[in-house]
């Protein structure tokens, strides 16, 4: 009942108000009548009645405030008043709103990214139960070079999925480019090879057709394929009748059995087609460990329980499989393989978390600086209203009433700024997604959702309360202000102190941001200085060719075809040289890892450590610009003759033989049954994992060699190779077309895949650094600008407040320079205090970003000296203009003005 009445009252405000007024008036009138009846004169009677009653307006508000809905009405009234005041000073409103919109917009955008990438669950049903199945193998030397441990082998998958008790399903997958022919042009598409259990674990149903069945995973069964949404749209025009049709994948006819929905990815990887791995249990060994595992836990099972469950199966795994006749299946006990499962989300997010949190903290600081600026502006405005507020307080307006009005104004500013900010953030996110920083995971999922909007709204309101509370707190005590009188010959100390404190805070925060940005710039410069192990990246065009088994089956023929392609490309005008290898540096592919034993060396534990392999051809190093520091390159005769030759990286040579020259003629081998291989050349170290990672030791084999593990003589060839083409025309469409023609002149069914210059690959390896650098750079620039505006504003205001004092000083004979110095000294003092505080804060905070730095200490002396100087100069410039105005004051006018 009473709630209803309250709501009803909301619509009856004017009548309610009138009723209250009338009721109170009746009260006063009755008292007047009684007073007259008691013999007072009419005026006296009225005066006495009013005196007893008190302030009618205040009373009316108090009575109205009893009702909650009326209090709401009051809020609306204050809001209208605040809006009216804003319209009256558009300059102020625009400045404040723009400042806030930028600050809030930046925060909303970055929070949306943090939310989409780090906080939101992965887009699979009950994704908290999904695990990424990595293993730990502390006993395998050199394994620490792997990013996250050891991956699964097919035999592990077969053992684990058949015998575990904690998973609903387990599967493994691997990526592979495949050629699709028989549609229009031959095309290389991204395929994900999945075992049974992968789609079941991810649990996203197909939008047409079905998942792979048990029969599809039979190596001798029907050949099938599932299409990704994008590929289905692009090549089949979203035709639902594709189910049952066939396409040629790497020369094999496969029936399309399903289409996956839009946005479905295999663990954050896009794909065009899915193929069944179809492992043959008859032909599995313990190795190779090259498959990503994914599993869905049964409800209520923890990661620890899953780890324990699978640990139990290790013995069974080694009992069930071997690495071929004559090998010890329990050899891997030395590796101490244990499950080290982690949530799938952790794997997807990777190390981007630290970058995002640093960026979030950065824009948070910018927001604080923006808030202090706005608080300063509001203080100045409140100062101008001081007279009005004091009079109202004297007339009986309560402290809470005035504070509320000031707060309503600032929260309104905050919310309006927030609305603008959301617009900015929306645009910024669209831009970010279209630029697409390469190593930002879950890029496609980035969007503003309800949580981002709530965050932005909360941030806006909190910002409003934050910067509004300072003037509200200062000026709500208006009664005292009236006593001091309206005129301020000089600035009242407490007011100025508040503003000074705000500027000090601003300078300190700006310093922290600028130091962080400068450290990133230094990092970037250091990275640019590092020699990556190749030269002239902008003149190196690269592309990949894959020759499937079904197209050319003879291993030597494969290499010969690849060599022919290289020769055709080399004949293109403007091409200086061509080479190819399994992997180019920094493309994110480690071709292989295995043990390498050096002749005459005894290894602790009996097993030599794992080394990274690459498979190269003659001319690859000279095209890349990778120096051969000792010995010579491979020759084609050595490759085709399967001669036992090998090349190694300089750091491997130094580690084992002391120097590059000493390595020549020494011998290594991969496997105890393999003949020794002679080192014929040593090449300079190449930072294959990016310029900020140490160059690993690399063993370079020829791209055609004797299969070390095969019992019968067999040849290992490389069917997927990356070409590097040195030409001044690298990166042009024209060159790529000619390359495509050259490839087709050798084999018309071969697609050219992943074209791009080495410079692009190189830049991508620095993407994290450049992304952080750009974000911090923008934040630092904003902080500097806001800081300068803050200092300028405070000094200007001080000058305008002290005009009379300056006039007196000048009249008494002060020199103009002295007056200027008075204000500049003041500005420099404030800045100095801010810089001192900022330096201490920066020293503490930059430690947090040390993982993002390279070749520069978080306490880099150059940065810590240069940035305070920059800030000091900026502060001097910002204060010089108002100081100049101060010294230009005309004493006569200044004194007359009051």
């Amino acid at each position: 009942m009473s709630a209803l009445r309250r709501i009803a009252n909301l619509f009856r405000r004017p009548r309610m108000d009138a009723e209250i007024a009338e009721e109170l008036k009746a009260h006063v009138d009755m008292r007047i009548e009684d007073n007259v009846a008691r013999g007072m004169r009419p005026e006296e009677a009225r005066r006495e009645a009013l005196l007893v009653f008190g302030n009618t307006t205040v009373m009316r508000e108090k009575v109205a405030a009893v009702d909650a809905s009326l209090a709401l009405e009051n809020l609306a009234r204050d809001t209208r008043f605040a809006l009216r005041r804003m319209r009256k000073s558009p300059g102020f409103a625009v400045t404040v709103l723009l400042t806030l919109a930028i600050g809030i917009g930046a925060n909303a955008a970055v929070f949306s990214v943090v939310n989409s990438v780090l906080l939101r669950p992965l887009p699979y049903p009950h994704s908290d139960r999904l695990l990424s199945l990595w293993l730990d193998a502390p006993g395998a030397g050199g394994l620490s070079n792997f990013e996250s441990g050891l991956q699964m082998s097919p035999s592990m998958y077969l053992t684990f999925s058949g015998h575990n008790k904690t998973f609903e399903s387990i599967g493994v997958w691997a990526a592979q480019p495949v050629s699709v022919t028989g549609l229009a042009q031959p095309e290389e598409v991204h395929a994900k090879m999945v075992s049974g259990g992968v789609l079941e674990a991810l649990s996203v149903p197909a939008i047409a057709g079905r998942w792979f069945s048990q029969a599809d995973q039979d190596p001798h069964g029907a050949k099938t394929v599932i299409l990704g949404y994008g590929y289905w749209q692009r090549r089949f025009g979203s035709d639902r009748n594709v189910i049952g049709r066939s396409i040629q994948v790497d020369g094999i006819t496969r029936e399309i059995v399903g289409v996956m929905p839009r946005g479905f990815r295999i663990v954050d990887r896009d794909f065009d087609v899915l193929l069944p791995l179809a492992f043959d249990p008859q032909h599995q060994k313990l190795a190779p460990f090259g498959y990503s595992g994914v599993g869905r836990l049964k409800p209520g099972v923890t990661i620890e329980q899953a780890d324990a469950d699978v640990s139990r199966l290790m013995g069974l795994w080694m009992d069930s499989w071997s690495n071929g006749p004559g090998t010890n299946p329990h050899f891997y006990e030395r590796w101490k393989i244990t499950p080290h499962f982690k949530s799938l989300k952790n794997l997807v997010i990777g190390n981007v978390g630290s970058v995002l949190w640093v960026v979030m903290a950065t824009v948070g600081l910018v927001m604080l600086i923006a808030c202090t600026n706005v608080a300063n502006l509001l203080l100045v405005r409140a100062e101008a209203r001081q007279q009005e507020l004091a009079v109202r307080a004297a007339l009986g307006a309560g402290r809470a009433r005035i504070a509320r009005e000031l707060l309503v104004e600032s929260v309104l500013l905050g919310v309006l700024g927030g609305v603008l900010g959301i617009g900015l953030a929306y645009g910024g996110l669209r831009l970010l997604v279209s630029i697409g920083p390469a190593n930002l995971p879950r890029l496609a999922e980035i969007s503003m959702d309800a949580r981002s909007l709530v965050f932005t709204l909360a941030l806006s309101v909190m910002a409003g309360l934050l910067f509004g509370s300072i003037p509200a707190w200062r000026y709500a005590r208006g009664k005292a202000a009236l006593n001091t009188g309206g005129r301020t010959a000089s600035v009242s100390r407490t007011r100025q102190r508040t503003r000074n404190a705000l500027v000090v805070a601003q300078v300190a925060m700006a310093l922290v941001l600028l130091v962080s940005a400068a450290l990133m710039i230094r990092t970037f410069a250091e990275l640019r200085n590092v020699s990556p192990g190749f030269t002239g990246a902008e003149h190196l065009e690269t592309m990949r060719i894959a020759i499937p088994d079904t197209m050319v089956s003879d291993p030597k023929m494969v290499t010969r075809t690849e060599q022919q392609i290289a020769e055709k490309i080399e004949a293109i005008p403007g091409v200086r040289s061509v080479g190819f290898a399994v992997a180019a540096p920094m493309e994110g592919v480690d071709p292989n890892w295995d043990e390498i034993g050096v002749e005459g060396k005894v290894y602790p534990g009996g097993e030599p450590p794992l080394r990274m392999f690459n498979y190269v051809t003659p001319g690859f190093f000279s095209t890349m610009g990778t120096r051969i520091v000792a010995g010579r390159d491979f020759t084609w005769d050595e490759l085709y003759g399967l001669r036992p030759r090998v090349m190694v990286s300089e750091n491997f040579a130094r580690e084992n033989w002391g120097s590059a020259a000493n390595a020549l003629g020494k011998r290594v081998r991969q496997f105890s049954k393999m003949p020794w291989q002679e080192v014929i050349g040593v090449v300079e170290d190449v930072r294959v994992h990016g310029v900020d990672e140490k160059a690993p030791a690399i063993i370079y084999w020829g791209a055609l060699l004797e299969d070390p593990y095969s019992a019968q003589p067999a040849i290992e060839t490389e069917r997927m190779v990356r070409y590097v083409i040195r030409s001044d025309r690298a990166g042009t469409e024209n060159l790529l077309n000619q390359v495509q023609q050259a490839v087709w002149s050798v084999n018309a069914n071969l697609p050219v895949a992943l074209p791009g210059t080495m410079q692009e690959i190189y830049s991508q390896s620095m993407a994290r650094t450049s992304f952080t650098l750009v974000m911090l750079g923008i934040a630092g620039a904003m902080a500097l600008l806001l800081g300068v505006i803050g200092i300028y504003g405070v000094i200007s205001y001080a000058v305008s407040q002290r005009t009379r004092e300056i006039g007196i000083r000048l009249a008494l004979g002060a020199q103009k320079g002295e007056v200027r110095w008075l204000f500049m000294r003041f500005a420099m003092t404030v800045t100095g205090v801010g810089v001192a505080i900022g330096l201490v804060a920066a020293a503490g905070l930059t430690r947090l970003m040390s993982s993002l730095l390279f070749g520069v200490s978080p306490m880099d002396p150059l940065t810590f000296v240069a940035i305070p100087l920059v800030l000091a100069v900026a502060a001097a410039v910002a204060s010089y203009l108002p100081a100049l105005r101060a010294s230009g004051v005309n004493p006569v006018e200044a004194l007359r003005a009051e």
């Binding site: 009942m1 009473s2 009445r5 309250r6 009723e19 209250i20 009338e22 009721e23 109170l24 009746a26 009260h27 009138d29 009755m30 008292r31 009548e33 007893v52 009653f53 008190g54 009373m59 108090k62 009575v63 405030a65 009893v66 009702d67």
Partner: protein
Amino acid sequence: MATNDLQGTLELLVLKTLAATGSLHGYGIVLHIQRASDELLTVEEGSLYPALHRMEQNGWIQSEWALTETRRKAKYYTLTAQGRRQLDRAEKSFDDLVKGVRAVLRYA
């Protein structure tokens, strides 16, 4: 246990006044309390009107506009059934309070 405070006391006085007089306007309530307490209690208008409106919101009293003896329009308040029950509760509570305070004072 008696729960009471000054606010509650003012409400008790208003409820009792309305129970005794049937129907009265704000000014009349001030005068009645003053008279009935032998000028010991003076109700401030600043507290009275917010209290009256609060009590009306609570449903203890209701109001209507009527003419006074001097033919002036004024808002008259009367008790509701709910208000009568509240009066009983408040009276009991106040008695307890007085007894309790007395007891403590005697003990000391």
